[in-house]
Each structure stands twice: as C-alpha cells, then as structure tokens.
C-alpha cells in the first residue's frame, strides 16, 4: 500500500470539471459504477481502458449526450451552475455549443460530410448567433488554421478529405468558439501512425498555446502518454487507478494498470 494523498492543499486551484459518483446501467449491464473525475483548468486528463470499460460513455456524459442514472456534473465557469445533468434540452445544447468542444473517433458523428469544411466550422458560430458572413468566414479560417488544416482546401467537403484532415476539421469546429473544455474521443484511432503523430502534435500545440482543458479518451497508451498530465485507468465501468501521468506509467499500482503498461513497453 502506498500513502494516502491527504496532505493539506497549498494551492487553492478549483477543478474546472467535476464528475461525481456517476452510475449508468443498460439493463443488467453496468456501463459506469460510481465513477468520479476531475480536471483542473489547463490540464489534460487522459482516460485509458479497453473497449467496454465505460470511458467513452463517460466522455459522452461530459458532452451531455447521455445522462446517467445518478451522479453530478459541474463546470466551474461563469454563468454555469448546478448539476449539468439536470439541464433541459435547450440549456444543454447551448452549453455544449458554446463551452464544450468534442472530437469523435468517427468523423461522421461530428461532421456534415458533404458540406464545406469551413461551413462545418461555421455551424458552431451560427449556433452561437454569429450572423455576419465575413466574420464567419474569417473565424472559420482562423480555427482551421489553428488546427493546421491546409487552407487551400477550406471549402472542400470532408468526404473528399483524408482521415487526418477530417480530424482537423473536427478539431477546428471544436475550438472555433474557444471552449473551456475540449473532449477527445479516440481522436487518432484508425489513422496511419505518421498521421496520428501529426494530429497529436497539433493537439499538443493547441493545448500549450491556449491552455485549454482537455479530456482525452483512448485505448492507446502512447496517445495518453504524449498528451496527458493526469491519467485515469478504467475497467468494466469503474476507475481502477488515477494519478499523475508519469506516476501511472512509471509506478503503476494496480495489477490491471501494470498489465496495461507492461504490455505497451
């Protein structure tokens, strides 16, 4: 056993995101069991686990796409209060559109494949009420540029783009409104290794330039290791272990984490 981390705190940083004791079952299947997670402002929280561990369900809940059977979800932001799981559909939609960005593994979930790439980004701004064409175009271009999308393909529909480029469009859409929270669901899974490295690099840059709080879900430890400051290991709907990224990778405590880390190394 290691020591409990119960020393009095010396920094009074409050978490931006707190998920408390969330449970969700689908019939007899427990997708999540009393899961809690926090992310501090500017921090990257990595969630690892194999498929079926509940990590993606948890992320969808953070995007309010799914509501748990019980649990609390709060974001420490101006004008945002209470348990976000209790918000009505309208408030939920506005919150997600303006404060939370998400990148899905499957670009079909996040993009209109036949609309232009810039239009996909502009949609976010339109939902938030932007009504000037010139501004839409300029802001969409800026966001695409920040996600290192080649601007000569600005108006190409995602269906004509490679997988890596589609992820960049998703990313641009996610950051267009400068959200407080960026959620990434296996953002590089299925991409070629070289493309994967470039997309990860873009994410890393964005994180450093904008100090954006991120939650990244992946079964790939390499991805988590590259990006995360803190790591949460999930298995069968429960949190197995959580800690600073270097600690989880260098000194994993739980048998399952050790197995994961050693399988990778």
């Amino acid at each position: 056993m290691t020591l409990t981390l119960d020393a009095p705190r010396i920094f009074q940083t409050k978490p931006l995101l707190s998920v408390d004791n969330v449970s969700k079952s689908y019939g007899a299947v427990h997708a999540l069991r009393d899961v809690s997670a926090i992310a501090y402002p500017g921090e990257v929280l990595g969630i690892v686990g194999e498929s079926g561990s509940g990590k993606s369900t948890l992320l969808r809940m953070m995007n309010l796409e799914e509501i748990p059977d019980k649990g609390r979800y709060t974001l420490d932001l101006p004008d945002v209060s209470g348990n976000l799981f209790d918000l009505d559909r309208f408030a939920r939609r506005m919150l997600c559109a303006t404060r939370i960005g998400i990148v899905y593994q499957n670009p079909h979930l996040g993009l209109l494949m036949k609309h232009s790439s810039s239009g996909n980004v502009a949609e976010r701004l339109l939902v938030a009420g932007e009504r000037s064409f010139a501004t839409l175009r300029a802001k969409a271009t800026t966001a695409l540029e920040a996600s290192e999308f080649p601007l000569e393909r600005l108006d190409a529909p995602p269906i004509e783009l490679s997988g890596g480029m589609q992820q960049r469009v998703q990313l641009a859409k996610a950051i267009a409104l400068e959200p407080a929270l960026l959620l990434l669901d296996e953002p590089t899974t299925g991409l070629d290794v070289s493309v994967q490295a470039l997309v990860l690099d873009t994410l890393k840059r964005l994180q450093q330039d904008r100090q954006i709080t991120m939650v990244i879900v992946s079964h790939d430890l390499g991805v988590i290791r590259t990006l995360a400051d803190r790591v949460m290991v999930m298995r069968r709907g429960e949190v197995v272990e959580a800690g600073l990224a270097d600690q989880i990778f260098q000194d994993p405590q739980h048998a399952y984490t050790q197995q994961l880390v050693h399988a990778k190394l």
Partner: protein, 304 residues
C-alpha cells in the same frame, strides 16, 4: 350515448363541401396558427375532390372561411385563368355559392399558388397560400421528429449553414422560391414557393396570410402586422429577383415580377406574372377607367 345519437342525419350536401366537424377542426387549427405565428399546426386534412398536391390544403382553408357573400379570387402562378385556378374557383363557387372575381381589390379571399398579387392587400382580405412542403428544415434535417425539436428550440443554425454553403459554392444565395423566413422573431417558416420578390410583401402586412399543406397536413399563418424576415447574413443583403427594369411586352408595365417567354430567335420577352395586373394595365392604356390599387413595389423598388 350511442353511435346513433352521435351520428348526424344523412344530408345530400354540406355547405362548402366539408362537413361541420371538419370545418370546426380547420377553424380551431387556424386560430392556433394565428396565435403562434409561423408555427406549423397539424390538422386532419380531409379528402376533397382533387388530387393531393394540387392545392387541397389551400382549398380546405378557403372552403372553411367562405360564406355566401365572400368574393373569391384564385390564382395559380399569378394567373386567374390557368386550368387549376379556374377549376378551384369554380368548385368553391359551386359548393359554397360564393361570388368570384379576378380583381385583387374586390376579392375578400384570395387563394394562391406561387404568387402574392402586386396590389397591396388590405386589413379585410385573407390570403390563402397552397404549400407543397411546409417544413423549412427538411433540406437540412430529414428526420421530422428532430426537425420539430429544432423548431421548439429555435435551433436554426443549419438553415443559416445552408445559406453559407450557397454563398461559398456559388458566390451568392441560390435559394429562389420558398425563401426561409423568420416569423415574429421566433419560428422559421417556408413562405410557400413564392419568389423572393414576394417575401417582403408579407412583412408587417395588413392582411392575414394562412398557409396550408394538404398532403403534409400542416397549417401555419402570418397574422396582420407581423414581422417576416428572410434569413440573411448581416453583410450579405437580401436580394429580390432582378425584374425591376423589365417591361411587359403586352401591357407595357414596368417594375413588377415578370414571366420570361422564350422566343424562337433565342431571345426572350417578358410579361407581367400577375395576369390581372397586366389586364388592368392594358385597360388603362386603352382608355378605360379602371380602379388601380396601390402596389407593394414602386418603380421596381419595395419601400422600406
């Protein structure tokens, strides 16, 4: 209560073709649609002796609203004398005994497809528009249950996105007819397949407009003095069709919405789309004394 007490005695004919309960439902739905401008209300849409898609929605509204004194005008593509318009007009007159007219100024009720007359409608007139596709969100959201939620949430981002895409692809907004418009600052409606030219006529109009889709079973309305704003970007102004400078080759009228008539030599001439307005112009030219109403457009421009 037995089925017998509930069933009305057989009648050879009901006034205005529709039976009493059908008309009562229509009236209720019309009142609802007036109460929430631009919001689509579902209704039963009874059978009428006409194929769905030929104006059955408009016809049911007209048949419900008429009484023996209502002067009815019916136009199709601006013309009173096209087959469909003439048939509907005759049908209403036959089953409701209403007088008919072609003069916009004299009509109490105008049923129309594709056009709003060029003469300004007044407080005591009702415009009934036949609508083929009442759902403005259909092109962006094929799932109608989700589309209804989007209306409820005023979630119209996708509508704007459609305009954005048109400008990106073609350099301008390509939407011709059925230009999506925000009613009373709340609901986006499709103003039936009227040209862009006619949409500003609905904005703060004195008359009541009822739009009805028989096949889709939806009714909605623009009450008098209600804002109707076409969706436009703040820096890309709304443009009507470029007809202001065109002259009608038959009546000589200029500054109105025109039909293009292709000629054998490849060129084209134009004639006023609102046929009765053209007829009036010819009669004035021939020296007849004709009452001309005020027009929405003046010298091809719509005054703000």
């Amino acid at each position: 209560m037995t089925l017998k007490t509930l069933t009305k005695p057989w009648e050879a004919m009901s006034y205005g073709f529709l039976d009493g309960s059908a008309k009562r439902e229509m009236r209720r739905k019309m009142l609802k649609s007036v109460a929430v401008p631009g919001c689509q209300m579902p209704y039963a849409s009874r059978e009428v002796p006409m194929a769905r898609g030929w104006g059955t929605g408009g016809l049911q509204v007209s048949l419900t609203l008429v009484n023996p004194e209502t002067r009815v005008k019916v136009i199709d593509q601006g013309a009173d004398d096209s087959v469909n318009a003439a048939s509907i007009r005759r049908f209403i007159a036959r089953v409701a005994g209403t007088p008919t007219t072609m003069d916009t100024l004299k009509a109490d009720l105008i049923q129309s497809r594709h056009r709003i007359p060029e003469e300004v409608l007044s407080e005591d007139q009702i415009l009934v528009l036949q609508v083929p596709n009442p759902e403005p969100l259909r092109p962006v959201q094929p799932n109608m249950s989700i589309a209804r939620q989007m209306h409820a949430d005023a979630d119209y981002g996708r509508m704007w996105l459609q305009l954005y895409e048109q400008i990106v692809r073609s350099g301008r907004v390509m939407q011709g007819a059925s230009y999506p418009s925000l009613v009373n600052g709340r609901h986006v409606m499709t103003p039936s397949p009227i040209p862009r030219w006619d949409v500003p006529k609905l904005h703060m109009a004195k008359h009541l407009t009822i739009l009805s889709a028989g096949r889709e079973k939806r009714i909605y309305a623009v009450p008098p003095f209600t804002r109707v704003e076409p969706l436009v970007f703040s820096d890309v102004p709304y443009k009507v069709e470029d007809h202001a400078k065109l002259t009608c080759h038959r009546s000589g009228a200029t500054g109105f919405f025109m039909n293009e008539i292709p000629q054998d030599d490849g060129s084209s001439t134009h004639e006023v789309s609102d046929s009765e307005w053209g007829v009036k112009a010819i009669r004035v030219r021939d020296g007849e004394k004709v009452a001309l109403g005020e027009t929405w457009y003046k010298d091809g421009e719509m005054p703000q």
